[in-house]
Every structure is written in C-alpha cells, then in structure tokens.
C-alpha cells in the first residue's frame, strides 16, 4: 500500500500540481499583503494615530448609524448588531481584533479563503486524480496489475489526503512568510477571543475564551483542512464519475460558487443548510460570525460535511470497483 501511495504522490508531484498551487497561493498572498498594507497606510493617513481602539470605536459608531437607516434588511441588521456587540467586547477587554503581524494576516487570509479560494486550489489537485488516468488511457495499465481495485483507489485517496494536508500547511506557511515581510513575524501569542456563539439575535458569550493566537491558528487551520478534505473528497468522486476532467471541474466550480453566492442570501431557505457548500465557512464559527442560516452551529456543519464526504467516498469506491473500462 505504501508503495502504491508513493506512486500516486510521484504522479502528483511530477505533474507539478502542488508547485502550481503553491505558486498561485504565493501570488495571491503577495497581492493581499499589498492591499492590506495600503489599507493600513490609508488608515494611518486618515486618523493620524493608529490606535486600534479609535478605529474599532469608529467602526461601532458607523455600524450603529447604518443600523438606523431604514433601507436595510432584518438579516443584515441582526448581523450588524452581532458585530457591534463583538467589537464592543474587544474594546471592553482591550483585545485588538486586528493585531497586525504575519500570524494575524495568516488568520485573516485563511478566514477569507476557506469557502472559495482554498477549495479551488484543492480542486486543481483532486479533479484529475482519477479522470486523467482515464483520458490518458493509463487506467488500463493501472488496473491490470495484480492489485485489487479498491487498493488502487484507496492509494489515490490517501495521496489526495496527503496533498490536501501539505497544501493547507503550505497555505499557512506561505501567507505567514510573505506577509511577514511587510507586517513582521511577531504576534504568535497575541490573545484572540473565540467561542462566540449566536443564539437567535443574541451573541452568546458564555463559552467565550481568550487563547493565544497560535492556538487559534491551529484550530482555524485544522478546520480549513477539514473543509479542504471534504471538498477534495467530493471532487475525487466527480473525478471517478466523470471521465472528462474539465467537466468534473465545472460541476465542482459551479457548486462552490453557487455556495458562495447562496451563503449570503439563503437565510429564509431553511433546508439549504444541508448543502455542503453552505457549510464551508467553518472558521466563521470560531470568530463569531453569524451563520448563513439561523440555527447552524459548528457541530452541525461538521456533521453535514462529514456525511457528504463519506457519501462521496462510498460512491467513489462502489463505482470504481464495479466499473467496466472500455
């Protein structure tokens, strides 16, 4: 089995998939770092002093003012209220939510990429892991070895898990290294508040705890990893089902993008919460963002994703083992 996984890794590495993904991530990180840097610069200009408390207070006031305007929807309103409460909490406890530094950048970047960017990167690796063998015809050589089919697919899946892991870590390391160039590499132990939960319109702070940033990062990246794994598994299934790699990618892309769009507008479509793409924003639960549909929790999302992942895996294996290769 180990040598089979080694084979699959060989193919992924030789196809330069991981390198391509790392390249894309590096470019994007550089881009975001720059925009973040410009943002910081502009804030410096505008306020004269960089005291984050002033900024946060001003944000609160701005949001309060937005609340009073009549044109905004109820969902938006309650979300604003939650954010206000949370910001107020940061102020009251003297915790800077935007502590500058590379770890904070990595945290912010991961938060923003969990539901679209990172899944896309995973897709680059996962989409052709099976279908490429079919289009190139190498599957015929692969399946005429004295190795059972499930083992071959399993080796591919394990290779995928490994690639997903290294991509997530690369993602973290690259965003840390590159942004640190501008923001400095400190801030690992800055306190971060987590454990907000949203019950109705109230921000529940019962379970709130303050943890050092490195712990928060570990939690956040493990959730990012989980999402990446599930997205990878579903893409993997599509790769088994659909011979044509671009078609499989298209299906997955449509699902992910519709998920990103739906998340912001499905509040009233209750059963959408069972769709995997609505549940991708796991880090939002850590930072206390309001979920796209009321009543969704971290546990709920984890279970929904796990069920989708398992189902995809079962389908992949069932199909792959029985499939006739013409």
């Amino acid at each position: 089995m180990i040598s089979l996984v080694r084979n699959e890794m060989l193919k992924i590495v030789r196809k330069k998939r991981i390198l391509i993904v790392a390249g894309i991530i590096a470019v994007l990180v550089a881009l975001f770092t720059y925009s973040q840097y410009r943002d910081l610069e502009r804030r410096l200009e505008r306020f004269g002093d960089v005291d984050w408390r002033t900024t946060v207070q001003q944000q609160i006031i701005d949001m309060q003012n937005r609340l009073t305007s009549s044109g905004i929807s109820d969902e938006w309103k309650s979300e604003l209220q939650l954010t206000i409460q949370q910001q107020q909490y940061y102020l009251d406890n003297n915790v800077n939510p935007m502590e500058p530094g590379a770890p904070s950048f990595a945290r912010m970047f991961a938060e923003h990429s969990i539901n679209l960017l990172l899944p896309l990167m995973i897709m680059v690796v996962a989409a052709d892991i099976v279908s490429a063998e079919r289009t190139a015809g190498t599957v015929k050589l692969l399946l005429t070895r004295p190795v059972k089919r499930w083992k071959i697919l399993m080796s591919k899946y394990l290779a995928l898990i490994l690639s997903v892991s290294i991509i997530v870590i690369l993602f973290g390391v690259l965003s840390y290294l590159i942004s640190g160039f501008v923001f400095g590499y400190l801030g690992w132990s800055a306190p971060v508040i987590t454990g907000f939960s949203v019950a109705g319109n109230e921000l529940n702070t019962n379970a709130v705890q303050m943890i050092p940033q490195w712990q928060y990062l570990l939690m956040e990246f493990s959730l990012v990893w989980f999402v990446a794994l599930i997205v990878g598994t579903i893409t993997f299934m599509l790769s088994v089902l659909i011979r044509n790699t671009p078609a499989g990618m298209g299906v997955m892309l449509a699902a992910l993008i519709s998920g990103a769009i739906l998340s912001s507008m499905v509040a009233s479509w209750e059963s959408a919460k069972y769709l995997f793409m609505i549940n991708l924003n796991l880090t939002g639960y850590l930072s206390g963002q309001a979920p796209p549909i009321e009543g969704m929790t971290l546990g709920f999302s984890l279970i929904v994703l796990a069920v989708w992942g398992l189902a995809a895996l079962v389908v992949s294996f069932a199909v792959f083992i029985r499939q006739d290769i013409y």
Binding site: R6, V95, S163, S165, I169, N206, L218
Partner: protein, 260 residues
C-alpha cells in the same frame, strides 16, 4: 533535487497530515467538550493604558444624534465637518475630532453610550466636548410633533434628568474640558401651529440653558435664531434636518466660541 522531490513531498505531507489531525482533534475537544469554562477571561480584564495618544493636538469629542452625524448634508460633513474647516482656517493647531454621533439617539441612549470604555477614554482626553441631544426626545425622532402638553412635559422632565446625568458623567471623566450643548431650532416654524411649536421649543431650550448654567465650563449654544427667519433655505428636503448651509451656520457659531 528532482530525484528526491517525491520523497521529500511525501515526508512533508505526512508531517502536515499529522499536525492537522492533532489540530482537528484538539479543536473538537476545545469546541465541544470543554464548554462553560470562560476561565482565562477574567485575567484579561483591561490593563489600564496610556490615555494620551492625542498629545500635542486639540481633541474634540462630538456626542449626540443625527445633527452630530451630519444627516441631511449632502457632503456628509455635518456641522462637525464645517467646524473643523473653520478651526483649521483660524489656527494652525492640530485638531483631532472623534465623532460618536448616532442617528436617532435620545438622551437616554447617549447616557448609555457614555458607559463604553472607549468613549470614556476619549472623553478623558478631550479639550472640547460637543453635544447635540434632545431633538429626538422632543420630536419623537420623527417629522411630527405631539402637541399634547402633558406628553411634552413628561418627555422634557426625562430629558432634563438624563442631560443632567450626562453632564455629570462627562465632568467626572474630564474636569477641564469645555462642554458645548447645541440648542434646538424649530423646523416647523413655517407650518400651522407655528406659535405653539415655537413656544414649546423655546421653553425646551430655556430649561436646557438653565440646566447648563448650573454647570461649570458648560456652554449653551442657541440655534433657534439661525433658522428663525428663512427656515426653508436651511433645511434639508426632509424639512427636519439642516442642509449643508444650515450646518455651516451652526459650525460658524460654535467655532466663534472655541478659542485656544
């Protein structure tokens, strides 16, 4: 390099997988099995801080309602914005403005806002404190006015009590800052019952003025006269908030009172 890249990647990815599995297990444990112990919280209460980040410049804190926010001014400046312009022309002193106005605020809400740490910090460092409050208490935060005498009396009593508390609160936070309270104008002066509405606003302003007179370094800034004659020219299309010109008038008046 090429020869070992696979082994190397394999090794790194296994490490990564291990790390992620540990992290994930820990996250599950932390998020689901460890609830209800906000232990670390208490220790992290505010460590008192350096208050004076606004050193070397004059600090103005603006509190209050939509007038402070600048509602009705198309340029979004409001009287605070024009005031900064005016003061900038007048002196070379660096001015820092903190505008905490919130549309629709009544006196009771302002009193609540004063409990916020950050607001308190800013008030502590202020040289001048500008307040517009009361309009929403009197006009029911809307474009109408209930002419029932009893209700007005009730509203006024509550307002005066809150204002008193506000002024006291501000004073305990900052002994030296000068407080300006911007009085009300009568937006309904061109409408029916103008006599009655004018009387009500005048009384309101009078009582406000009387309260401020009891406080040290507190100045009542009248605006009634500014809008008295050609109220239409100075009001926004909602016939309630001032427009840019109206705000400029208020700003001019306030700026003439500020000296350093």
């Amino acid at each position: 390099m090429k020869k070992y890249s696979v082994g190397f990647t394999l090794f790194l990815s296994i490490l990564s997988l291990g790390l992620m599995l540990v992290g994930f297990g820990w996250t599950i444990q932390n998020q689901f099995l460890n609830n209800g112990t906000p232990s670390a919280m208490e220790q992290a209460k505010p460590v008192e801080d350096k208050t004076t980040n606004d050193q070397g410049s004059k600090v103005i804190v603006a509190l209050g309602d939509s007038l402070t926010r600048g509602m009705g001014d198309d340029t979004g400046k409001g009287y605070i914005g024009y005031l900064v312009d005016e003061l900038g022309d007048k002196s070379k002193e660096k001015i820092t403005i903190h505008n905490y106005g919130v549309n629709g605020y009544r006196s009771i809400q302002l009193l609540e806002q004063l409990r916020q740490v950050e607001i308190q910090r800013k008030i502590q460092s202020a040289d001048y404190i500008l307040i517009t409050i009361g309009g929403n208490d009197l006009f029911q935060s809307g474009e109408t006015m209930d002419l029932d005498e009893k209700k007005i009396a009730q509203a006024k009593a509550g307002y005066l009590k809150n204002l008193d508390s506000i002024l006291k609160e501000v004073r305990t936070l900052n002994e030296s800052a000068i407080i300006f309270h911007i009085g009300l104008y009568n937006p309904f002066i061109d409408l029916n019952d103008s006599e009655l509405t004018t009387k009500i606003v005048r009384d309101w302003n009078y009582d406000t003025n009387a309260l401020l007179d009891q406080k040290e370094k507190a100045v009542y800034v009248p605006t009634f006269d500014l809008f008295q004659l050609s109220v239409k020219d100075y009001l926004y299309t909602d016939n309630f908030h001032p427009n840019a010109e109206g705000y400029k008038l208020i700003a001019e008046r306030v700026s003439s009172l500020i000296t350093w």
